[in-house]
Symmetry: C2
Subunit: 412 residues, 2 copies
């Protein structure tokens, strides 16, 4: 039997009614002759509640215990989905990560999937089970402890299962009906894209467009998984959603395909760092060890052997970053006068494969922001994106004006 | 190191503050030199919520999926408790049932613990871990699926660990400060017992006194586990709580030690059953197979080869019972005119080891109820208890008047 992977996000399984609705979609695919692997997230809000409890209990938590706690929401949904399918007469059972097993690295709270042996689930398919409901976001470490894959990790679970079972397609059901030129909650002019390249999707995801977890897109690109993003609230149709695919299979030739943003950024500045060869490694080594995801980095011009070093990281990693840097200072590895955290910033980015061949995108972006009186604090660029850090209060204004400036509401 | 088992029920871990309070008690025992195994329930209300979802999704649920869902609450508490202890500087980690592993039978939703190999946890104690926090109520079946032990199963988990690790004592922390002559919420005259025999505790627990799960008491009796019930809201003291112990180590010589009740009873009556040898087996066999816990049974005098058969069972098993009996009727195994379920009844019981040697207890009980105008629907007796089924609206009145009649407010 051909295998299909269907992943339902938190809003798609937020209530028993929604689980039923999702189960009906699964039933339609079973009726078409598929063996279906359903990946479920926790009911929406549940994981946030659990993460909140962990943070309140222990701000610098043991990530192994964090994983044991926050993985529980998916187990609930998996069991309820299996029961719902059984009630519909569809042979189904639930699997927790360790039961499959979903083997991951031991990097707790941010583990990577290393292997998904298909035997256990395949043998149940051979016995007549039609749907394997798998708790997303979780796995088991080499030491036998529960791991999680980072926020949005259920997307990665889904793509990894699609690769492991050579699935015909991996459908990601979410609360939006596809990938948009920007967040429709911010710009009413946002337009749905029918196709997008893996590369652009990667930048959009990593920049906080939040439709798909970054690693799920990387994995889909590597294993050529046909990935579709669609809404669980729309009527089923072949035209639904956005297909994420190879560049050659796309696409409008325009410089910018979308405007992404990330609200939860912090800007950290080390004031008056002793500037010497190797100083960057001395700063960013401890941050990396502490699990801080440093994004943008700028170093000021050095004066009298000292410089200021600025970087951005997710706002919930500020405590970790401070602890790591102050620790390195105490050990004498680095030397700085002050460490300032600005937690009122956000990141806005223009993304497009067309940028590679068209010039003037950066200039247009900076002028647009300047015309609105928005001050740019940090700039970072790659081949297909330009990102700026700005005050968070300007987030909506920046996204809307850039969307207008690049005329993203128009089809090419 | 000597081992101590401490179990915290749902109300004792209902909030992060309460988990902290419980963790402090654990810290006190660690300071005394114990290696501590902490068994935790789900935060209060959580398991009920999960059970509610399962019932709504699938009234005649697949118990394997029920277990996968309802076991998740304990995992959350276990992780949070481990984090709380770590924050206090106590080396601790959490264990889910399958990680220990807590090996159980495959009787899902009502599994029995078969073995708890101590090696995994012991080796961590040997490495310097002071506290193993174990998710109560759950285990793993021979097939590798998650099982649960029935409501209140965390008590049984605790006693089983105490037996497996030869613990000095098993302390059950709950929201009451011990075992009372009856439920203090119903009779203000209820008095705390300092000691109670295993046998009496067994009757009280199985009759719905709800302080301890029945099986935990059976297990404690078999393995001579020193079992103490105490409140997590009282200041620690050696006099706290109630010690459950052997009969010879007790006790006041009075006919009745306590009045127990169970609210969630149903009375089922099979009208006009064809009376023949083997009819009881034909009726109660299918009920047993369907997992219905039949409690009291009465059979009316037979007339013209037909009789009425009445039994009681937990109210949430009425559907199952109806399905099983109607199924047996369709197959021709039994024959009855009608099946009537009365779901407005409750059970009230007088329990006491002294009953063995003192007569007149039953007569006094029936007269007391009669004086209050309470009609008795079913009677059942054992060596140390007398139970009656009555209309649920009389529950409080019956408990109070019996408590008064046997003068349980007075110490012997």
């Amino acid at each position: 039997m051909p295998v299909l992977v269907m992943k339902f996000g938190g809003t798609s399984v937020a209530t028993l009614d929604r689980i039923k609705r999702a189960a009906k979609r699964v039933g339609l695919e079973v009726a078409k002759g598929y063996d279906v692997i359903v990946i479920v997230s926790a009911m929406s809000g549940k994981t946030n509640e659990l993460v909140g409890w962990v943070n309140e209990t222990s701000p610098l938590y043991d990530a192994r215990e964090y994983d044991a706690v926050v993985s529980s929401g998916e187990n609930v949904t998996a069991g309820l989905m299996a029961l719902t399918l059984q009630e519909m007469g569809v042979p189904a059972r639930s699997w927790q990560g360790w039961q499959v097993p979903v083997k991951t690295t031991a990097a707790h709270a941010n583990a990577r999937i290393e292997d998904i042996p298909p035997e256990n689930i395949s043998s149940k398919f051979a016995e007549g089970m039609k749907v394997a409901v798998v708790a997303g976001f979780q796995g088991i470490s080499p030491e036998g402890r529960i791991t999680t894959l980072g926020r949005g990790g259920s997307d990665t679970t889904a793509v990894a299962f699609a690769a492991a079972f050579d699935a015909d397609r991996c459908d990601i059901y979410t609360d939006v009906d596809g990938v948009y030129t920007t967040d429709p909650r911010i710009s009413q002019k946002a337009r749905k894209l029918h196709k997008i390249s893996f590369e652009e999707m990667l930048e959009l995801a990593s920049l906080g467009a939040k439709v798909l977890q970054t690693r799920s897109v990387e994995l889909a690109m590597r294993y050529k998984v046909k990935l579709r993003v669609l809404s669980s609230f729309e009527e089923p149709s072949d035209e639904a959603g956005t297909l994420v695919c190879d560049e050659e299979d796309t696409m409008e030739n325009r410089p910018v395909s979308g405007i992404a943003y990330s609200r939860d950024e912090a800007k950290m500045t080390l004031i008056s760092v002793a500037d010497r060869p190797g100083i960057a490694a001395a700063i960013f080594g401890p941050l990396s060890e502490a699990g801080v995801n440093v994004d943008m980095i700028i170093q000021n011009i050095s004066e009298e052997g000292r410089t200021d070093m600025t970087f951005s990281c997710p706002i919930d990693q500020v405590l970790r970053a401070q602890k790591a840097l102050n620790g390195a200072k105490e050990k004498g590895d680095i030397n700085f006068h002050d460490l300032i955290a600005d937690t009122d910033v956000c990141k806005v980015s223009a993304v497009g494969i067309g940028m590679r061949s068209q010039s003037g995108v950066a200039a247009k972006m900076f002028k647009t922001l300047s015309d609105e009186g928005i001050n740019i604090k940090v700039i970072a660029t790659s081949e297909i994106k330009i990102s700026v850090l700005i005050d968070r209060k300007y987030l909506e204004l920046a996204v809307q004006s850039l969307h207008d400036a690049f005329e993203l509401e128009k089809t090419a």
